[in-house]
Symmetry: C2
Subunit: 247 residues, 2 copies
Amino acid sequence: MTGLVPSRHHDIADDLRQQIRTGRVQLGERLPSEAVLAERYAVSTVTLRHALAVLQGEGLVEKIHGKGNFVRRPLRRITYRGGGAMPDVHTPADVALSVTIRTAKIRARGHLAALMNVPARSPLTEFVCLSRDGGSPHSLARIYVPRDLAPASVPEESSSYVGVVANLAEMRPPLADVREKVSVRLPTQEEAAVLRIGSAWAVLAITRVMSDAAGRVVEAALLVFPGDHAEAVFTTHHQFDQRGTEE
Amino acid sequence: MTGLVPSRHHDIADDLRQQIRTGRVQLGERLPSEAVLAERYAVSTVTLRHALAVLQGEGLVEKIHGKGNFVRRPLRRITYRGGGAMPDVHTPADVALSVTIRTAKIRARGHLAALMNVPARSPLTEFVCLSRDGGSPHSLARIYVPRDLAPASVPEESSSYVGVVANLAEMRPPLADVREKVSVRLPTQEEAAVLRIGSAWAVLAITRVMSDAAGRVVEAALLVFPGDHAEAVFTTHHQFDQRGTEE
DNA sequence: GAGTGGTCTAGACCACGAG
DNA sequence: TCGTGGTCTAGACCACTCA
């Protein structure tokens, strides 16, 4: 909206961005304090913070209250593949992802019951999976399956995301339909805290519902990825000639 | 990050949000000026602007420099359906969408050439479509097709998005593959201006590449939707029993 | 020119983190 | 306790819109 009028905080953001990209500020390192930077650039702290907010929005800087501003290690790009036949994330190197899983036995209600097309109070098992790429949070998945389709035990911590997903898939009848809804929204406070992102920065949220040939929902998953380095790919193959309704 | 400490600008945002939602401030109307509101809430203009920024991020308020802050009419939710067999947007009432189309004959280069898998300088036709829902911008689509597959003429303005897409589809050989990449990013300055959204608010960007049975790319589309009221739905049907690689 | 939002200042005080 | 970021003030001046 402001258009092409250069503003001081943009200049500063550009300068800091350059220093980060050229490696003059080391990855993972702390930037000088805001007070120091404000003096260095001869601006007020408010303006300097505005500049840092720009970089935070770009995912280059992580602010930690009471500690400082840190240059964020550029995270591996996350590619989610749609279609449901494969693990959620399978970039070539995603074996390096570690996962923390919290399991709970819950009962369906409200939105979740509707999503899974089961009566309220149906027994479900909930898996909350936080995957990490090295030290950095990577993605958050909340997976719900009918209790009778859940593995009896799931390791609390696993070094392989693929293994976990395979574990779930074993119990599952063959899939017939996968419906994935992709949306953009601001993270909840919890999500922002867990993923270590600013609460003003959007996430890529995917709601995935899988059902078997009988139409029974065998899994519902609420997946959340930091928006600045995630993407979802969907591939559709049209196996028949295009005559009328085929999809 | 700040956590549970209530802050003045959040309180104000909450109050204004309530007034908007309960209709005490009319849709499309201008809010009192920032100076007036700042006095009313007994805060500085900076703090008041911070509160408005929250509402702007939620898509409730649209700021227009020199004019005022306006309560944004809640836009119809945009649902993009993946798979490529259908028009981009087909909520029941999307016949109400109007579209402005700018057509240009261009030549492939760089990223676009790679995307369409054609040599640089291949002749393409570009369609830039801005669709509007009533008065509000709704989505921006940049569609590229090989020159020989482009309709000779496209109406500059059309009242029906569906008609336009059908127009394009007529020229097309049967589709074999559709690949859609969904990502979240900040809008470019141009996109922010055209879609009338703040440049700090993320958009849902879809890159769609369609190819025919021979593997030729017959269309590449760069679609941009305001992130706060758009979603994309992908449905996969598994027609065979699940044995090995079938995706 | 009058009224609006956009940017900025030079402080102040509060909340968090680590020793 | 000290250094950090988080919020806020009471102005100032500039840029945009419209009569």
